[in-house]
């Protein structure tokens, strides 16, 4: 098998061939390592990548299979991990100088689950520092480039995780999503990205950004692969008290059941302005296709969703300012030299260790929480959050899912929004509402622009109903093969 350009190579097909003995995990790992050798440094997808470690993990999987151990459908599947997921003994920096050289003494819950399942780690992917950003340009190390057009951003903050899957350097990956950080890069890179329901996946070992919003989510090239990866990581874990037993694996056959009789709501009020015409045309194409497949398309309203960005940019920085207080230069990571006393050591370490975006958010969050402003900013934002959440509860009582674009525009150019933080934040208008509501949300590839840039559409559903979102996306995917298109940078590669 040559796997030219890896077009049909999904996690599911790899799992089958390794599980049935048609191919060893080591052969698979070698193929992906070779691809990454060709493209990873040009794309800036990885912060840490050690082929020896990857190949050793693959050999271990083969040894387990040889001993007769029954492994999961992900056995031998190369998976990339965002660099804010703790990996025992493997550097974990969150794209920040302040964690330079840090090697966690433990694995995150999702990493434990993937190791047990027999997945093979390709490396730690680049991201915006502490997951704060929408372009991966806020990485303290280097930016990631979009595999479809290296002059453009891959989205963020999980830009490395989305780009590495799009470029076939990994079969699947994990990112984290606080306000869209899995969905937006998935949309920009032409792959699937799921933000599970708040509480569906344990965050134990995910470096915290905004704890009332953070979720870990799968990125993949097919809807079925999303289900396989979600199944490997979901459910209750005693080490994250927000994780819930209601999060159950999705039967992959159920993803094939189609949309006949389903009701899908389009929030026309929210997408009335500022949306790229090609993105709108794509929304209409998706709606038409799903209607042909038997779904009913309704108009719905989310009247408070337009307050989402303002709400989010109070809540998330407030929580971040508290979560990031732990980086003090005492126990791990970077410490500034030459401070004369402890207080100065803290301030200089943090001033030099955190990048501009992170410092800006710490300042904003500390301000919003400080005496005199708490009621006007943070408390008010939490009340508006209640209204936004109610919009979804009301809408999802009439519709099985909400359908809207993942982003207002196709991927933008590197540097285009870097000097205007507010313009960068406004790009998240369609992804943040579901984050504030705690609802599951899936971005799926919905075609390309005339200039060959990916467009992503988004589905938002009821709590713990990820399966319905995958059914809808799978129905569209069956009629369109965009998901398996390969960007030029990867298409030239012959394994």
């Amino acid at each position: 098998m040559t796997h030219e350009a890896g077009r049909e190579e999904t996690a599911e097909s790899i799992g089958h061939s390794v599980g049935s003995g048609a191919e060893s995990a080591l052969e698979v790992a070698r193929r992906f390592v070779e691809r990454a050798e060709r493209t990873a440094s040009r794309l800036g997808t990885y912060l840490h990548r050690d082929p020896e470690v990857t190949l050793a993990m693959a050999r271990e999987v083969d040894a387990r299979i040889a001993k007769g151990e029954k492994l999961s459908p992900l056995a031998g599947v190369p998976v990339a991990l965002k660099d804010n997921l703790c990996t025992h003994g493997i550097p974990t920096t969150c794209g920040s100088r302040i964690l330079e050289g840090y090697r966690p003494p433990y694995d995150a819950h999702v990493v434990e689950r993937l190791r047990k399942a027999g997945a093979v780690i390709t490396g730690k992917t680049n991201c915006d520092e502490f997951a704060m950003g929408s372009s991966t340009e806020n990485s303290a190390y280097f930016p990631t480039r979009n595999p479809w057009d290296p002059e453009r951003v891959p989205g963020g903050s999980s830009g490395g995780s989305a780009a590495t899957v799009a470029a076939l350097e990994a079969a699947i990956s994990l990112g984290s999503d606080t306000g869209g950080s899995v969905r937006q890069p998935a949309a920009f890179c032409g792959v699937f990205g799921l933000k599970p329901t708040y509480g569906a996946v344990s965050r134990y070992g995910l470096v915290a950004f905004a704890s009332s919003l953070d979720q870990i989510g799968p990125i993949a090239r097919t809807a079925r692969d999303v289900a396989l990866l979600y199944n490997a990581i979901c459910g209750r874990d005693v080490r994250d008290m927000t994780s819930r037993a209601e999060a159950k694996p999705i039967a992959v056959e159920d993803v094939e059941r189609g949309v006949k009789g389903m009701k899908l709501g389009i929030p026309r009020d929210l997408i009335a302005e500022g949306v790229d015409p090609e993105v709108l045309a794509s929304l209409e194409r998706v709606a038409k296709t799903l209607a042909e497949e038997g779904a009913t398309i309704l108009d719905v309203t989310l009247p408070h969703a337009r307050y989402s960005i303002a709400t989010y940019y109070l809540i998330a920085p407030a929580e971040a300012s508290s979560n990031l207080a732990r980086y003090d230069g005492v126990r791990y990571g970077f410490r500034a030299k030459g401070a004369s006393d402890l207080q100065q050591m803290y301030a200089v370490t943090r001033g030099k260790g955190f990048g501009r975006e992170v410092r800006r958010r710490i300042l904003l969050g500390t301000y919003a929480l400080s005496a005199g402003y708490y009621d006007a900013y943070y408390l008010r934002a939490m009340k508006v959050r209640t209204l936004i959440r109610k919009d979804f509860t009301d809408t999802l009582a009439r519709a099985d899912a909400v359908l809207l674009p993942t982003t207002p525009t196709p991927p933008f150019k590197l540097g285009e929004k870097l000097d205007d933080p507010l313009a960068m934040y406004l790009n998240d208008i369609f992804s943040i509402p579901a984050s504030l509501a705690g609802a599951p949300a899936l971005s799926f590839p919905a075609g390309m622009t005339r200039s060959s840039l990916p467009i992503g559409m988004q589905l938002v559903g009821r709590p713990f109903d990820e399966g319905t979102l995958l059914r809808v996306a799978r129905t569209w995917e069956r009629r369109n093969t965009d998901a398996l298109r390969v960007p030029p940078i990867a298409a030239g590669a012959r394994a």
Partner: protein
């Protein structure tokens, strides 16, 4: 609630962040523009609305069994220290 260089300076001190004086002006401008944007929330009537601090906070907190589990990572954790003295983290002068 205007934000100016003095406020940014105070907030930076509360956050234990030493800022380059040259950067302070830029932070003032950026924070002003973000705070002007979030002002739109003042237009909403939120009287009688309960705050949502966390989705799912209404449900009963699941509890785990309270039992001792071994966690022997002391050496591995201390190995990460920027500066250590035996089994202690060493820091600059406190007082």
């Amino acid at each position: 609630m205007p934000i100016d260089a003095k406020v940014v300076h105070q907030v930076a001190a509360l956050s234990r962040l030493e800022l380059d004086p040259a950067e302070e002006g830029r932070f003032v401008k950026e924070l002003q523009s973000i705070l002007a944007y979030v002002e739109q929330l003042q237009a909403l009537d939120v009287s009688g609305i309960e705050p949502t601090s966390q989705v799912g906070s209404g449900v009963k907190t699941p509890l785990r069994e309270d039992r001792v589990v071994p966690c022997d990572v002391r050496e591995e954790a201390l190995a990460q220290a920027p500066d250590r003295d035996g089994d202690y983290f060493r820091v600059p002068r406190v007082v």
